[in-house]
Amino acid sequence: MSEDCANDRNLRLPRFAWVGVDWSCAPVVAAACWRTPAGWRLADLPGDAWREARRDGRRCCAALPMEHIFAERLEPPARTRGRAARLAPGMLDLRLPVPVESCAVTFVPEADGRALMAYAMPREKLAAALEAHSAAGCPSERAVPAAHALWSRLVRTRPPAPDRLQLLLHAAPGAWTLMAGHGAALQSCLTLSSGDAAAVGRAARVFSQRRQTAQAGLLVCGAADEACLAALRAQPSLAEMEVAGADDAPRFLARALAEEGAHAFGCETGNLRVGAHIHPLAMAKRVRREWLAIATMLLTAVLLLAAHGLLWWRAAQTRRSLDARLTAQASLLAGRALPQRGAAAIELAHRELETRLHPQVEALGETTAMTLLPRLLRVAALRGLTFSSMAAEEQRLEVAGAAAGESDVAAWREAACEAGLVPAIACEAGRNGGVVFHGTLMVREALP
């Protein structure tokens, strides 16, 4: 991710940028995140100028205080992620001190594996927090547990080694939140009294013993000054641990929220403003999406039916017209309307035709050797062939005659072939340098 932490007072906030608002500090800290062709852009928003542009909370993301949120890591015994998501609410209900139905719940799946981080906030607490945001002048469209946003930013900006115990302390003025993870996976989340460095030390010892790992680090963000860091380093259990303050500690949460909003791409994962607490803008977006989906599905259904119906109708029309042609031709052949249809009608029409046609009349139209004779005689006249005898009977023509040369006989033979006769003509030398020929020509169709 390309990050550019601009701090420009004249920065024009893009309409599609997400604004992260950290209400735990005074004055309120805000940051914006948006996507540009060059990559992600992150900018701090000084002053309150952004509030005017985002008075309705559009594309604003706020943190919900962790002291009111139950954070539980669940490992459902399921093979697939979908099945794990179905099992998770039941498992969470067993662990919560209050009924799960009375809470707003969000599940954040781990990047790899089937474990989920469940965040549950009692509805009245959520309503109060959202009311507070509205009263402050920015009813954020998205409200996420602070731990979720903070840990996501930690993983994005400082990816921990896979076998390292990573602690993240958000030192807010009201309460401290300590998050512990193994590698990139957030394992647990504790809320401590503000300034209680000893409690941090105790918790860190417990996490170290549980994880049995030598590599460990603590990153501190929020309102943590040098004195706070010194107090933490003074804890015996943190002595061997790398304790560092984030460079952007005071703005860490605001930036984390801005990034969370921008990277969610409209997905509800991590967002507790769902169900009855949904933001009116988000609701309007959802309603628009749903109407669009309804319209798209109905239109697609109509188009599908229309296109395929048209295909079927055209094919049926073609079949009907062919049927009509077939019936007409069969009736024409039979000489009367036939009760049968299709192949049966054709068969009947064939039989009827055989009885209808008078053989002697039909024979007048048959091709015989005599019907091909005029063409042969024309060629013979052109080539100067003379005939001494010619006898024809049905499909057979016997000829004998004389020609000037063998080429003339060959040309005549060729003409006979083209006319549809099969010639068997022999030539012999005749008188005066000419040739005499004799042979038979058969109609090609008459041959077996």
Partner: protein, 161 residues
């Protein structure tokens, strides 16, 4: 529960799309059946083409014969200047299905060879049709350029109305 009707509509649209997809598959199958039927009908129509040609040819001949009801008592058209042949009616068949077959023989004892070929061309293409059933042409040895020609012709005449 303001969203409930819309949610129901969304679900209904999904179901409608699914139903449309299923119906489309059915229509595709039906269209394929229709197309196969079209191919079979076209094949049948093609199989009828020779029979239709045969019928057309027959009707043309029958029509030509009906236009000249006295064809059997006359001769086919002969080339101008041709000597009149000796005509002999060989056979007049009994009437069947409104037609009667007639066979006649035309003979020329002596005919110029060129004219004989013209006669052959003429009787082969004559209208109304005569069919040359048999032909015999022989050069006369003692008279060069002259031939003897015997032609047996057949035709049919329409009987009755």
């Amino acid at each position: 529960m303001k969203t409930a009707p819309r949610q129901r509509l969304l679900r209904g649209s999904g179901l409608a799309l699914l139903a449309a997809a299923i119906a489309s598959l059915g229509l595709l199958r039906l269209a394929a059946v229709q197309r196969r039927a079209c191919v079979s009908r076209q094949r049948l129509l093609q199989s009828l083409t020779p029979e239709m040609d045969r019928l057309t040819r027959y009707q043309a001949i029958a029509e030509a014969l009906r236009q000249f009801p006295q064809v059997a008592s006359g001769d086919p058209a002969l080339p101008p200047g041709c000597a009149a042949p000796d005509r002999r009616e060989l056979k007049r068949a009994t009437e069947t299905d409104g037609w009667r077959g007639v066979q006649a023989e035309l003979s020329w004892q002596r005919l110029a060879a060129g004219q004989a070929l013209s006669v052959l061309t003429s009787v082969s293409t004559s209208r109304p049709p005569w069919r040359v059933a048999r032909l015999r042409l022989e050069a006369l040895d003692d008279q060069p350029g002259q031939v003897r020609l015997d032609v047996t012709l057949e035709t049919a005449e329409a009987v009755g109305p």
